[in-house]
Amino acid sequence: MKIRLWLSTAIVVALPAFGGAQTPALDRTAIPTPGPLPQLNVPAWTETMLPNGVKLVVSEKHALPLVSFRLNFVGGTTQFEPADRAGLADLVTRMMLEGTTTRSGNRLATDLQLLGTSLDLSIAQESGVLAFQATSDKFQPALALAADVLLHPTFPAPALERLRGQALVSLTQMRDRTGGIASMVYPKILYGAQHPYGRMTTERTLNAVTRAEVVNFHRAYFQPARAIVTVVGDVNPDSVKIAFEKAFAGWSAKGSPATFAYPAAPASAARTIYIVDKPGAEQSTFAIGTVGPPRSTPDYYAIRVMNEMLGVLFQSRLNHNIREEKGYSYGVFSNFAFGRGPGPFMAMGDIVTAKSDSALIEFMHELEDIRGKRPPTEDELAQAKASLVQSLPASFASVAGVNRSIASIYLQDLPRDYYQQFAKAVTAVTGEEVVRVARQYIDPQHFSILIVGDKKRIEAGLVATKIAPIVELNDRGERVNAAAVTP
């Protein structure tokens, strides 16, 4: 209480005005002129094809005694996971850390910790990775542990039951969050449960997984023919090659490169609002979008520039309007997923419950205006381009950053001089192209609008916007009522 008293007293002490300047007054209205932009130095790397089909890529960076290792796999859950086994690949990667023929799971974890490292093992929609970072003196022993995990896992049956139990609890906890529900339900709305992009992990798919399926998935997925090893840091290509071939000696050529043949996405339906009820929610999670273009689109750079000013930069149109001007949210964004297939375009954010209707109107305004009614200003265009091009050096600051940058060239099948060409391609984008790609890839007439929130407090307002008919879904993405509520 004494403390409070002191603070209250202190805060009302009258303060003198700022002292006068000591030197001739500085003209603070003059914006400093920047010097010349530092030259972009894209890291160089070597590429070697090993006899078993593994591509070995090494980039030297000797500033610090650190090494970043990634064993990347082209292809992921959407190529290798059966539709009714969503969650299988995740269980496989966790099971691989449960022990090898010579180390228990506990021993493995201890050995990794004693080296000051950990294995990051995951399989995403279109790629997988086994990665670690270590100080350079620990690189070889850490590599031996990574090889052991990849080549000799034992997949103990009791561990599967434990991991399944943990995954089921996580799933339940995810449904306690409006954002968790949106992330599970929205892909299904856009693509349908049959499309690889629309699958959802549920209790049913997790409970269906057997140990035999885990063993088979591991055998089928982790093949040299689709592997690219990228190593960055305080190493040289020759020593890495020797170390890798020694550690992965038993890994023989098998398998074939992944193919990315996606079924067509479902035909776009008329604009619809989907509500998932979350009674009591203080905020509604929004996801507004459509099926988008694949990474291979020739419009990639123009879309990136357009999206930067629409919903990436802090002062982007969506965030400036809905957060900064209206105060409806702590932040809103937009994103193109850019997969090998037609990944989603989405605008998203958490909106205060009472302003769910007003925020939807503003989302629709901005998403409509970027399509030509309000073309980009010169400054919007300049900022969008600079933010993309001039941020590149920062992505090469750490060994892990360089490694991710190089790996993504291989995983996305991009030209080797991609980063050198990037600035040129971005700089060439015009305001007219921004409008053209906005018109082409942002399609408000066919938006699927998902709002997860407190239905009884938001529904009437949403109906009154007359933006679209409303369909109620449950947290599994299934229709609750047969008939839509039409405005």
Partner: protein, 488 residues
Amino acid sequence: MTPLPAISRAVATAGAAAGLLASVATAQAPRPGPSSGASRAASSIDIPFERFTLPNGLTVVLSPDHSTPTVAVQVVYHVGSKNEVAGRTGFAHLFEHVMFTGSGHVPYGMHDRFTEGVGGSNNGNTWFDWTRYYETNPSNYLETALWLESDRMGFLLDSLNEAKFNAQRDIVQNERRQSYDNQPNGRDEEVIALAMYPKGHPYSWQTIGSMADLRAASVEDVKQFFRMYYAPNNATLAIVGDFDPANARALVTKYFGDLGRGPDITRPTVPPVTLTEEKRITLEDRVQVPRLTIAWPTVSVHSADEPALVFLRDILGNSRTARVTKELVYDRQLAADVDASHFAFEDAGQFQLSLVPRPGHTLTELESAADSIIARLKRVGPTAEEVRRVKAGQQATFINGLQSNLGKASQLALDETFFRDPSYSFRVRYPRAQAVTAADIQRVARKYLTAKRVVLSNVPMGRTALASHADRSTVVTDPFTERAETTP
């Protein structure tokens, strides 16, 4: 679905702060080792810096690193939610948001224009003890960043705008909804702090503050707070990255040299916090899965025991081999998840253990199992291998942190703020952490993990019987939320 990007101008949440404090805590020069890499690490790795103070009291730390053509500028003000007054909780953080709405010579939006809009970034964070602001830019935009930071340090009030202030007040309320009220377990820290600290104690509320206080904040509050705390003599400026120190020194003098010194600040004396008994509380939440959190009062960043408490944290939780995790998640499978943390503040500390049960197991079971594990550790102490594991992790984390200009700027500036020594973490604390022994860890476990603690059961609405030892647990509400106001 793409995960939501990190949000700018964010309050430092418990999680983020844990990461930050961990990085501060582990930012040390590694000691000599037998192999080539480690000996190189020992002999040549340091954070070289120079430090000077302007006549107006601004402390400046410069640390050139030319490996990437970028530069990080960070200003830490020695003010946080701890300095707030009754009825204005959350104000230090709301003020941080106002610092992005323009200043005397920098119109609103210009700050983003010359950071993000030139390929850089900016953000601000508020914590109990400090508020920090930063820019990371291509190195040719160093002067622009100094122009931006100096203008809001000197001239924020010249352009204070009621509409912009009101919008930020709404935004911060939405931040509270998003990160606390609408998150499962989001209010746990608030009720733990109320139980742990005496009424009115500066650490008894969270940095985000209460919804009612946020609504009550006014432009007049902004003016008073700015005049009291936002002055050069209450700030540290750190610049790290690709720049010439002589040039940087000249630029700092140019932009900050003529800013007026503020009043001297007498800081609150915060008495050490101890509990006289165990406090058992139950909070109802919109969750399906309950969670138990045990919280013990510990010590501040200044205590010699602080490094050993970090070891204790990693020996109990956060990895498969940690004792509580191994036994409860892996061996006996009573728990789905275990999390251990230690928050070392400027004047206090908290050690926490959180446990999520598997279906069919109760919070009572988890509490008693965790207590047995802790009792065993107090009796026998950790093994040599357990201690070595934690040390190896700290060394790797330190070298990794050296790659980030922003991370280094943050550490130098915060160490100057707390210890008047920018190198404190790597020249003082690190040797101390390297010297931590199994006996030290056993000793701090005995000293701090006692029966005088807070035990929080977070349970689904209406299911207070699920609390650990429900008959001895008091059902509490969180007075900081809107929910408390709308549903009495």
